[in-house]
Every structure is written in structure tokens, then in C-alpha cells.
């Protein structure tokens, strides 16, 4: 079968080289194509999809080095070997620096050519296998998200659903202790489901964030803040925490995705509440300054020690215990940072142990003509 044969392309301006190379490989498991100059050679690279390309370094028209560069920008997995008539170490080294796999000094014997061809093909096999493995790893990561979401979430959801049903069926028979027990079970399962959501978010974050950039549109910061605060209301009410908001009246919109921006801010607010004492206050401000929008979330909570600060945006960083012993998943800030960066923004933090933390999101303003 022609398809199974390895494809070899030889680009050289000397017809005798092309003919002899073709002859040497004849009868082997190869499909050979030849080109007399760089321009035609590059056309063949695209049409013929060779596994290995031999390129003469010294040709009229496009130079060998240039051909090498273009082959690599077309498909970096193609193995390129240079043929050099002036077998100086310099040009060979230069070619290998440019990404050539090996070099073949002229004149060469049929055996030398066969050996180097075989080595080139082995290299090609390795490169394509590595690429396939990398692709497989990426697919596995996506699969992991699917498994997490379906295989793990489904049974937990089913348990919770049955607990809901059980509670309503027994509503007039449960005493207070029994009903508290059910409430605690429900809340544990709910935490578990939330944790799975957060994991899923991290696993799919990079892919998702690329997607959101496609639909960026002018987004009102005020609406983002309002929705984020609604999102943490239960949490803040439970700890009797007042959230004070100060939004500059003339605040202009940013270019972004409202849903993920709300998510980013919910994470910051939720942390601020988690690490604040009962009855404390949180301050949210938004203003535009120079060419950016600054959204800050300040709390008077436990704060972050100086040595921990560099790590807080990493995945799985969990702060010291909060005042009421709550622990986070260690993923919120990492996700927030990814979201903000996808918006071409940045996030900074200022914190003092025992005094509280202030997180500031910097976002670009909508520029005209965009």
C-alpha cells in the first residue's frame, strides 16, 4: 500500500544528486519526491506531506536555510536533514541550530544515504509518537472533566435528591434532632457537589477561558458587582457581614464576559467573608484610573502572612484556618487570576496579618474603535 510507505522529499539543484538518491531508495519502503529548487520544494512539502526532507544548503533562488525555516513553520514535526557540499562544521552546526536533525556531507555513498534516511525516519516516528501522546494527555484531561462531572456527580446528586424526598416525606414525623441530622447531611453533600464544580472549573478552565474571549463585549462593572454580591448574600448574611459598595458614577464599561467576571468577583468576596470575623465589614470599590478599571475588595479579616503571599494564586493553596474553621478548596484565587488575565487584566493583593487583605482587579477600559 502506497499510504504505508515513508515519504522522502529531496530538494537539490543538482539533477545527478536527485537521480542517484532516488535510485538508492528504489525498491525500499519509500515514496520519493524531488525538487530542483527551494520554491518548488516548499510547494511539495505542503502537497506531499513528507516524513523526511533532504535540503541542499547551497542552491540558487531561496537559500537552504530559508527553506529549513519555512518547513518548520509549516510543520515542526517534519524531520529535515541538510545536504552540504562544503562540509564545513560551521554550516552544519548553523543548520542544526535552525532545527535540522542531521547533515549529510557531499559526496556520500549509497550506504551513508540509506543509514541517514533510516535514522531520519526513526526520528520522525519518535516525534509523531510524542505529539500523539501529548494530544492523548490533553484528551485525558478533558475526559477527566467528563468523568468527574458524570460518574462522580450523578450518584451524589441522586443521594441528595433522595434525601430531599425523604425529608419531605417525613416532614411531620421528624423530631428536631433528626431534622438537624438531615440538614447536616444535606449541607455536607452540597459542599461536596460544590467542590466537584470547582475542580471541574479548574480542569476545564484553560479551554473555557479561550472560548470566552471570542464573545467579549462591553460589560458594565456595576452589573458585575451587583450580581457578585447577590451571589454571596447567603454567606454574608449568615456571618452578619455588611458589604459596603462605592462605585464611581461615571465608570465606563470593560471589554469582557460578564458571567466569568462575576465568578472572579464572587471568589474574592467569598474569601473576604470566609476570612472575616462575625459582624465585620467588607468594602467593594470600583473606579477608573488612567486607562484601567480598578475593582477592589477589602476585608478586615485574618490577613495573609508575607511568606504566603507569593503562593496564594496557585492552585490548591489554602489559607490558614478562617476564624470559624472553614477551609477553602484552594482553587478560587487561581481561577480568579485566570479569568482576570483572560480579560487582559491583572490582580494584585495587599495584606497584613491580623489586619485584613485588599485584592485589586485591574481591567482594561473599552477602547474606541474596537
Amino acid at each position: 500500500m502506497v499510504e504505508d510507505k515513508s515519504k522522502i522529499l529531496i530538494i537539490d539543484d543538482e539533477e545527478v544528486v536527485l537521480d542517484s538518491c532516488t535510485q538508492i531508495l528504489e525498491g525500499g519502503p519509500y515514496q520519493v519526491a524531488t525538487a530542483m529548487d527551494g520554491t518548488f520544494g516548499l510547494e511539495l512539502v505542503q502537497e506531499f506531506h513528507p516524513d523526511v526532507v533532504f535540503v541542499d544548503l547551497k542552491m540558487p533562488g531561496i537559500q537552504g536555510f530559508e527553506v529549513l525555516d519555512r518547513i518548520h513553520s509549516f510543520d515542526p514535526t517534519i524531520v529535515a536533514i541538510v545536504i552540504t557540499g562544503y562540509a564545513t562544521v560551521n554550516s552544519a552546526v548553523e543548520a542544526i541550530k535552525k532545527g535540522a536533525y542531521d547533515f549529510l556531507p557531499k559526496p556520500f555513498t549509497p550506504d551513508e544515504f540509506r543509514v541517514i534516511t533510516r535514522r531520519g525516519l526513526e526520528r520522525r516516528k519518535l516525534v509523531t509518537e510524542t505529539t500523539a501522546l501529548r494530544r492523548e494527555r490533553e484528551m485525558l484531561r478533558d475526559q477527566f472533566a467528563a468523568i468527574l462531572s458524570h460518574e462522580l456527580k450523578s450518584p451524589i446528586s441522586a443521594v441528595q435528591q433522595n434525601l430531599f424526598a425523604l425529608e419531605s416525606q417525613l416532614s411531620d414525623q421528624l423530631d428536631e434532632e433528626q431534622s438537624n441530622r438531615i440538614t447536616r447531611m444535606k449541607s455536607s453533600i452540597d459542599d461536596l457537589l460544590k467542590l466537584i464544580h470547582t475542580w471541574l472549573r479548574v480542569v476545564s478552565a484553560d479551554a473555557d477561558i479561550q472560548k470566552i474571549q471570542e464573545d467579549f463585549q462591553p460589560t458594565s462593572i456595576e452589573s458585575v458587582i451587583t450580581k457578585a454580591i447577590e451571589g454571596v448574600q447567603t454567606q454574608s448574611t449568615r456571618k452578619d457581614i455588611e458589604i459596603q459598595i462605592k462605585i464611581e458614577e461615571t465608570l465606563r464599561p470593560t471589554h469582557g464576559d460578564e458571567i466569568t467576571l462575576v465568578e472572579a468577583l464572587v471568589n474574592l468576596l467569598s474569601n473576604a467573608i470566609k476570612y472575616s470575623r462575625m459582624g465585620s465589614k467588607i468594602f467593594v470599590t470600583a473606579e477608573d484610573k488612567d486607562d484601567e478599571i480598578l475593582i477592589s475588595v477589602a476585608d478586615r479579616g485574618v490577613g495573609i502572612s508575607e511568606e504566603d503571599l507569593p503562593f496564594i494564586f496557585g492552585d490548591f493553596y489554602v489559607g490558614e484556618a478562617s476564624p470559624d474553621g472553614e477551609r477553602g478548596s484552594g482553587l478560587g484565587l487561581g481561577i480568579t487570576k485566570r479569568i482576570v488575565e483572560a480579560h487582559n487584566g491583572s490582580i494584585s493583593v495587599d495584606s497584613a496579618l491580623g489586619k485584613g487583605s485588599t485584592f485589586v482587579i485591574h481591567l482594561p477600559l473599552v477602547t474606541p474603535n474596537r
Partner: protein, 140 residues
Amino acid sequence: MTEGKKLLIIDDDPDFVEGILAILEPAGYDVETAYNPKDGFDALESKHYDLLLLDIMMGRGAEGVMIARKMRKDPKLRQIPVLIITGIREQIAYLFPGGPVHPHFVDVDELVEKPVEPELLLDRVSALIEASEERKAEGS
């Protein structure tokens, strides 16, 4: 008001369905179940239902969406109100319960997240049936 209303659940997770049945049946609904998309669609085509509760992630992927799409194309089926019950909120892209941003598959539909609180479930089911009946009354 719930008396005699016929509902169909299409969901491939029998355990989850149990938890839904235990809420809907005591409320007076007559509920039938289908545990795969094929049986579900056959039932929809052969009998009359006042509402469909539809799971999205079934079988090899989002087969619930396929059912919704087929219903949309059928002038009779697209009048059945649908309550989509799904565990995949991020793929459907909505952040807060009650504020769904989802494609409207049929004339009357809504989306709730798994697991769903009994009160919310009963509330949505009766609201959807009511909305659909009002629509029909207006249309006729």
C-alpha cells in the same frame, strides 16, 4: 389542580428518578418513567403528557438535547412544556439558579439544576403546566 396531570420523566439514572418520583407522586401527579432516550421518545409519540421532565446528559453525551431538538421539529410535541433537569450547569452557561441563560428548545421550557429542592420542583412543574395551558387557551 395536580390531580390527573400526566408527567413523563426521561432520565437514565433510576436512583435520581426515585428521588423525583417521591416528591411528585405524593403531590398527586401521575408520573411515567423512561430510562433511556429511545423509550422516552417512543412514549412521547404514542401517549399524551402534560409535562416532560428531561435529563440532558444521557448515554453517550447530551442525548437529552437530541430529544428536545426532535420535539421542536414536531408541531404537536413542541407544545408539551419541558422542565430540563441537568447536572451540567457550566456547559449550559448559567451561573445562578433562577437566572437561566439557556436555549429555548420548545415553546414552554425551563431549566433547573440537579439536585432540585422539592418546593422548587413542585413550583416549577405547576407553573410550566399552567403557562402551557394558558398558551393553548389563547391559541385556540
